[in-house]
Symmetry: C2
Subunit: 247 residues, 2 copies
DNA sequence: CGGAACCTTGAGGTGTATCAATGCTTGTGG
DNA sequence: CCACAAGCATTGATACACCTCAAGGTTCCG
């Protein structure tokens, strides 16, 4: 069996996603209540965490790794509708069947809560509900930004948009700022990128090659990317490069 | 001046969106507190309610009419990212500049609250925050469903998807059920539909003509639509017609 | 070494965009 | 009451971005 469930009452204070996850606003007592009901689960790269339509008896946060949220049509066309990074929340309080497939793209560790106890705790702990509202509003903004990408951008702009988002997130995590070159590894296959961008994997491959030829990005192997000038990349994405990001 | 602001402490109990809006869960006392700070504003068809980037000093609910949420790129490409119907909420607590343009498509009446007093009330009234969370989660689901439409559906499927959504909403409002023909007026121009679907207005026009020729819909004039068989329309949309809707 | 997974590149086809002309409604002013 | 303009919609011809199908390359692992 590749699935691993650990009951672990380790200290939330030391958790790497403590300040960003659904528990971000909780104070010490509230964390203790959460620790009582939490447990960890691990998933291997490629594993499906949740099947669309299945009963959802838990909710939780991604602690490490990357997962995707995808929808599939009857004829097999698929569209990724969300990218789950560490601290992102999975599951919807008040609903019991899953609306999307959740798939681990890399190895993933999740901090889970059984749904019912979590809902009870949410009702008695405004800090959790407040934080969840804030996170949901952020996700809604991200989804709407992505609607512009899907609906109106060219293939080249779509690729540049995706790379720009990953590059900026990585720069903010590694605290390097946006003035120098940004280096990162692509966490997605060409096919997963295609599913995110509403393209075919061939088009993704061609456009990445084109951006490389034009020196917008440098590639070492298939996944290791260097962005020499994030402003240039954002121009290629059709975004306003002076939107207040480059302070 | 076409803009009309009315201070109106009329009874929330009689409000047409009482049971669906952000105040849906409020009890009598809470409604009184809301009545203290609410005011109505009217907008004419075509008027911009909020400009993207502007200071947002109020939030509110659509009481009647239809508004759109749109994003625009520097070169003028636009994508609609939301359709605001009666009871939908506008504005984001905790943010002070607007992220999108909000435009009245028909004449619109909104029930507004100044942002600060509303935020205060939200913190002291869990029922409001709870309802807002629920509504935001619903909007997120709708946005993700739309991502599939934008990313993976053909022009014909896109049109069918939009018509199917409007048709089903109208059927649910008029309590007619989904067994017989559904009749409604399109609340959007061809151009607005194109902006919603990530198409050009010419393609929208062609696909509507095609669906008409194939008897999937009947048209009287340019806006008055009859859907003889909603199941057929949902098939055209690529949706599973027996997804539990046709009970 | 052989196979599997992933990626790249090419050739040709197709769906939608673009450009352009025309039609239909509605409202306005002479 | 007609003439005209403005806004919205339809239809046609053509262009091109992206998809589809196909072959071959790279990397990794048993």
């Amino acid at each position: 069996m590749t699935l691993n469930t650990l009951v672990d009452h380790s200290n939330c204070e030391d958790c790497p996603i403590r300040h960003r996850a659904v528990c971000a606003r909780c104070d010490a007592d509230e964390l203790i209540a959460l620790e009582e009901i939490k447990y960890y689960r691990s998933f291997e790269a490629g594993q499906t965490i949740i099947w669309s339509g299945d009963q959802m008896n838990f909710v939780g946060s991604v602690v490490s790794g990357i997962a995707t949220l995808t929808q599939t049509m009857e004829d097999g066309r698929t569209q990724m509708v969300g990218l789950l990074l560490p601290s992102d929340f999975v599951g919807r309080p008040g609903r019991d069947s899953a609306a999307y497939d959740v798939v681990a793209t890399t190895d993933v560790v999740m901090c889970c809560f059984r749904k019912k106890p979590f809902e009870d705790l949410m009702n008695s702990t405004p800090h959790i509900a407040q934080r969840l509202l804030q996170m949901t509003l952020d996700e809604l903004d991200a989804a709407r930004e992505w609607m512009l990408v899907l609906g109106r951008k060219t293939a080249r702009e779509k690729i540049a948009s995706l790379l720009s988002i990953i590059a900026r997130r990585d720069a903010s995590v590694s605290q390097k700022g946006l003035s120098g070159p940004i280096v990162f590894d692509l966490p997605l296959t060409r096919e997963a990128m295609a599913d995110y961008l509403g393209l075919t994997l061939e088009t993704v491959s061609r456009q990445i090659s084109a951006l490389k030829k034009d020196k917008v990005i440098l590639l070492e192997g298939k996944r290791h990317v260097t962005v020499p000038d994030i402003g240039r990349l954002m121009e290629e994405a059709g975004d306003d490069a002076d939107g207040g990001f480059l302070v």
